[in-house]
């Protein structure tokens, strides 16, 4: 579904094949190692959870994947292409979208405009037509507006379409942020604690949206979450980080039984 023009990328990745592979990645900030020699992969069409105690390097991992941080060692292979340094806007053009732990919406803009910004990469009309807001510029605007309206309907946020997002409650802001990421029609969607600070009902809604996204759009999802119930229900495979190192990787059931994971979360008697 993603019509990117990057010929060097593999377009034919079948569900279940590796979409993104992280190999021996190490990330340092000065003397502090945020991530040490971590490897894992994300397969197309799956929901992959990244969990771990606070400060384990989960968000840093997402930042490495979408180009905010450049790891000192290791390789990242996305759709068959190994990348070196890359800016976030390039990651965006390659089909990686992201939501943030603390909502990073455009506060002064309406819900509609926020989600429309997600379509920026797909809009190509030259500056000239925007001067008149006629012809190709307007046609493009309407075409993308239709797509955005589909997302608004999908996320059930019709009633706040024209409300500036700064005025919305937290749960709805999270939903709008998901909508903005979906507007990019991403191949890989990174969700950083999508359920943080939500009540049970909002969490259930969000779970539903995440599963529907996977079903309807075939998006691959990597998700960081602290609510273990949610993680175990949603994800196909889980990778567990602690102090920047990988301590477990596998299906939710395997991870649940792993002694290292239990120790990391519950502590060890000394």
């Amino acid at each position: 579904m993603n019509a990117m023009n990057h010929s060097e990328f593999r377009q034919d990745i079948a569900p279940g094949e590796t979409l993104l592979a992280v190999d021996n990645v190490t990330l340092r900030f000065g003397g502090v190692k945020a991530i040490t020699d971590v490897s894992f992969d994300i397969r197309k069409g799956e929901v992959r959870a990244i969990i771990g105690p606070n400060g384990a390097g989960k968000t840093s991992m997402l930042n490495v994947i979408n180009g905010f941080y450049h790891p000192q060692e290791g390789r990242i292979t996305y759709r068959g292409q190994t990348r070196t340094k890359m800016r976030p806007h390039v990651a965006a053009s390659q089909g990686i979208a992201r939501t943030f732990q603390n909502v990073a919406l455009f506060k002064g803009m309406t819900t509609l405009d926020n989600i429309m910004v997600g379509r920026t990469l797909k809009m190509r009309t030259p500056f000239f037509w925007h001067i008149f807001r006629q012809g190709p510029a307007m046609r493009e605007e309407i075409e993308h507006r239709k797509f955005v309206e589909e997302i608004i309907e999908f996320l059930e946020i019709e009633h706040i379409r024209k409300v500036p997002v700064g005025k919305l409650p937290y749960g709805l802001q999270k939903r709008v942020e998901l909508g903005r990421a979906l507007a990019m029609q991403p191949e890989l969607l990174l969700l950083d604690e999508p359920m943080a600070g939500m009540n049970l009902e909002e969490k259930e809604d969000m779970c539903r949206f995440i599963l529907d996204t996977k079903e309807q759009y075939g998006t691959t999802i990597a998700l960081i979450e602290h609510d273990m119930g949610v993680v175990m229900d949603l994800s196909d495979r889980v990778v567990v980080l602690e102090y920047g190192q990988k301590i477990a990787d596998g299906t939710p059931d395997e991870v649940k039984k792993n002694q290292k994971v239990i120790d990391a979360y519950l502590g060890v008697a000394h």
Partner: protein
Amino acid sequence: MFYREAGQYKKTYSADMAVFPILQDRIGIGLILLAAAVIVPIFGSNFFISTVMIPFLVFSLAAMGLNIVTGYTGLISLGTGAFMGVGAFACYKLTTYFPQVNIIIWILASGVFSAAIGALFGLPSLRIKGFYLAVATLAAQFFLEWCFVRVPWLFNYNASGAIEVPQRTLFGVAITGANATPTMRYLVLLGIVVLMTWIASNILHGRIGRTFMAVRDMDIAAELMGIRLLPAKLTAFAMSSFYCGVAGACMMFLWYGGGEASDAFNINQSFNILFMVIIGGLGSLIGCFFGAALLNIVPIILKFGLPAMGLPLAGATAEHINHLFVGSLIIFFLIVEPHGLARLWQITKQKLRTWPFPY
């Protein structure tokens, strides 16, 4: 009660995305344009047109320019005065070299030169933000101001060191120079301002405007949406300077009718326009007009209105009272509504929609 959109259904997305989706707004803007284009030239005295309306329009245009970069893109610029100066000098040089081309074309084309210079001085904005960027743009102000005085080529080596506005005509009627009537100059200026406001509104309502606002509200997330920050910021600077440049050219050719650039385009002018934008409302086109009106028309009313009402004020006292009064007005409006007059206007409209009910 009268201002209510009940029953106005939008059946297409283009109707919903219109700049004035409500019928009453469209009627209102039509009436304002009619008043500006017909009633003011017919009934306004020469004095009213040349001391109130022309400066008001010039400042509105300049404030619009600054608002694009500061209000919409969130980059503070203190180089407005200098960018206006670039426009004025570019227009002067162009009409000197090619006198046969219509002056209106050169006024609009002069914006291209200040856009280029503005984009150049906008380069630091990728790395610098907030107050630090304001200081960086001061460099533009000081450097260009120096050029205006020290590079005689700019003012055609004339002895006064000032721009001498030549007479230029449109369809045989003088529109610049000593023989142009205020009404003629006003009408040309009005045409330019209406055209440029329409264009600004078009651009800011579309993809490019959203890009600017995304950069303003959360630049990290904007980059993640695939927006490249440097081109976006430079576009904002170029577009802003374009508007400032045209405003500067209008100021020299349609208002001052010539004069020394070091007076018209100094740092005070930059601050003056920044205040208009802040008081009018950051990120609002109508706010530019409100801000320009408050900071420009109120002093004139005080200066000429009070003596007319029988309060005899001598020159210096009038000037001081003027400063006091405008200063306290600014404080008053900012306390009442920190987001500027545009927000006040929005609240008023909302109240009018629900009147006579509270909500």
